[in-house]
């Protein structure tokens, strides 16, 4: 993957994180066909475990001298082969981007927020905990990176990509929230703890599993590939503002755990297709407001669906 570094004189100018400014110079592209753009990079150079907020650990060039400024919203923090010491975040990271590739150390979130335009983790280990991660565009985990997510929320306004070679993603009981218009969950077979759909025109590419909570918060979401089903092991929260539907390819939700599952329905919500596919003794039970509106299909394949006094309306 080619890497291009841009260094600009940016004194006195605060780049807005969510303007798509990066695209002026070329998109981050994860298939290697286009160069990765690193704007005003700050390279992590420490060869031994150390803290984020120490200028001695940062250089303007890969493997260069330390003493550069700690990454700011104008910089991309780069972890590559030039500094393999583990990094503990002792301060929140408000940066333009985080790019990890070739690095084999561990980045510990240490209860600190990460706010950036994009974040790409292609190698090394990330240990998340305690605080949120927010990207105004894309969030990517791939390659050999072993990524333990935050137990807070990963908020992504662009593409949430999970495309590992040998790497892993552990949800750590945290949430993933698609928040930006057109946000795209491209993470085949990933297992999440909580997924919140909070965006207009969101998309899901392939099948995935949600272990604890699926929140249909706002907007709408459609599937890309035919198998793009959400296998839900926990509960569904169908919110009153989740009803802006495209006219085709809404994704189905399959309730297929071995325990009781609950649908919490708010007034005015519209849930995409529902498939109940549980062992016979298990139950999906409705709670909340009547009616429970399903846009396309209700299929009770195996197990019991308990309407619990709430009217069922299939179709709009």
């Amino acid at each position: 993957m080619a890497i291009v570094s841009y260094n600009f004189a940016l004194d006195g100018f605060q780049y807005p994180i969510n303007t798509g400014w990066l695209s002026t110079f070329g998109e981050i592209d994860f298939d290697g066909e286009e160069p990765v753009v690193l704007i005003n990079p700050r390279y992590w150079i420490s060869g031994s475990p150390s803290n984020w907020a120490n200028s001695a650990n940062w250089s303007e060039t890969s493997g260069g001298p330390g003493g550069a400024t700690i990454p700011t919203p104008r910089n991309v923090a780069v972890f590559d082969t030039s500094g393999l010491g583990s990094c503990t975040m002792d301060a929140s990271a408000f940066v333009y981007g985080i790019y990890v590739n070739g690095y084999s150390g561990t980045i510990s979130q240490n209860n600190k927020d990460i706010v950036c335009s994009f974040a790409s983790f292609f190698s090394g280990t990330f240990e998340g905990d305690g605080s949120n991660i927010s990207t105004a565009t894309d969030f990517a985990v791939g390659g050999t990176c072993d990524f333990t997510s935050t137990d807070g929320t990963v908020s992504c306004d662009g593409t949430f990509l999970f495309a590992p070679s040998t790497g892993t993603f552990y949800h750590n009981n945290g949430a993933v929230s698609l928040d930006g218009t057109g946000a795209y969950l491209n993470a085949p077979n990933i297992t999440l703890s909580k997924l919140q759909l909070n965006a207009s025109q969101a998309r899901i590419n392939r099948a995935l599993t949600v272990e604890d909570q699926l929140h249909l918060q706002r907007g709408g979401c459609r599937k890309i590939q035919p198998d793009a089903t959400v296998h839900l092991k926990g509960d569904l929260y169908s919110g009153s503002n989740y009803n802006q539907w495209s006219i085709f390819n809404d994704f189905p939700i399959e309730f297929d755990s071995t325990t009781k599952q609950t649908i919490f329905n708010q007034n005015g919500s519209v849930t995409p297709s529902v498939l109940v596919n549980k062992t016979v003794s298990d139950q999906v039970i409705l709670e909340g407001r009547s009616p429970f509106v399903i846009k396309d299909e209700l299929r009770i394949q195996d197990g019991t669906f308990n309407s619990n006094g709430i009217n069922l309306q299939v179709g709009l």
């Binding site: 549980k278 209700l298 009770i300 197990g303 669906f305 309407s307 069922l312 179709g315």
Partner: protein
């Protein structure tokens, strides 16, 4: 057009309406669930009184398609004896809004509906 397919079990203590076909497969079952309080006192009522007192008929309605029943609608499954169950209050409504004859409130004490296609 939407669709509802019941191959497992639907505990129905409300109404079901579908803008398309509704199919209860040969393995499927709909259990119309009564009001728990009425369930306690049901046996002290005459059947007709129960029906009147209940006032909570369960409706399965296909607004633009068909209701195809190859499985069962089973009041017994809700804990009632045959011919005393709340299934007697189930209403099956066809695409024209007509209640399917023989399966309404006048069919006192419905236990099962099976092998019915309409």
């Amino acid at each position: 057009m939407s669709i509802t397919i019941i191959n497992g079990t639907l505990l129905l203590d409300s109404d079901l309406a579908c803008n398309g076909d509704i199919e209860i497969t040969t393995s499927g079952k709909v259990i119309p669930v009564p009001d728990p309080d009425l369930m306690k006192t049901f046996y002290s009522y005459e059947t007709n009184k129960y029906i009147t007192a209940n006032g909570g008929s369960r409706k399965i309605t296909s607004t633009t398609g068909n209701v195809l029943i190859n499985g069962i609608i089973d009041g017994i499954g809700a804990g009632f004896e045959s011919n005393r169950g709340p299934g007697c209050n189930s209403l099956l409504t066809d695409s024209s809004g007509n209640i399917l004859s023989g399966y309404g409130a006048t069919h006192a004490g419905l236990g099962h509906i099976s092998q019915y296609s309409g």
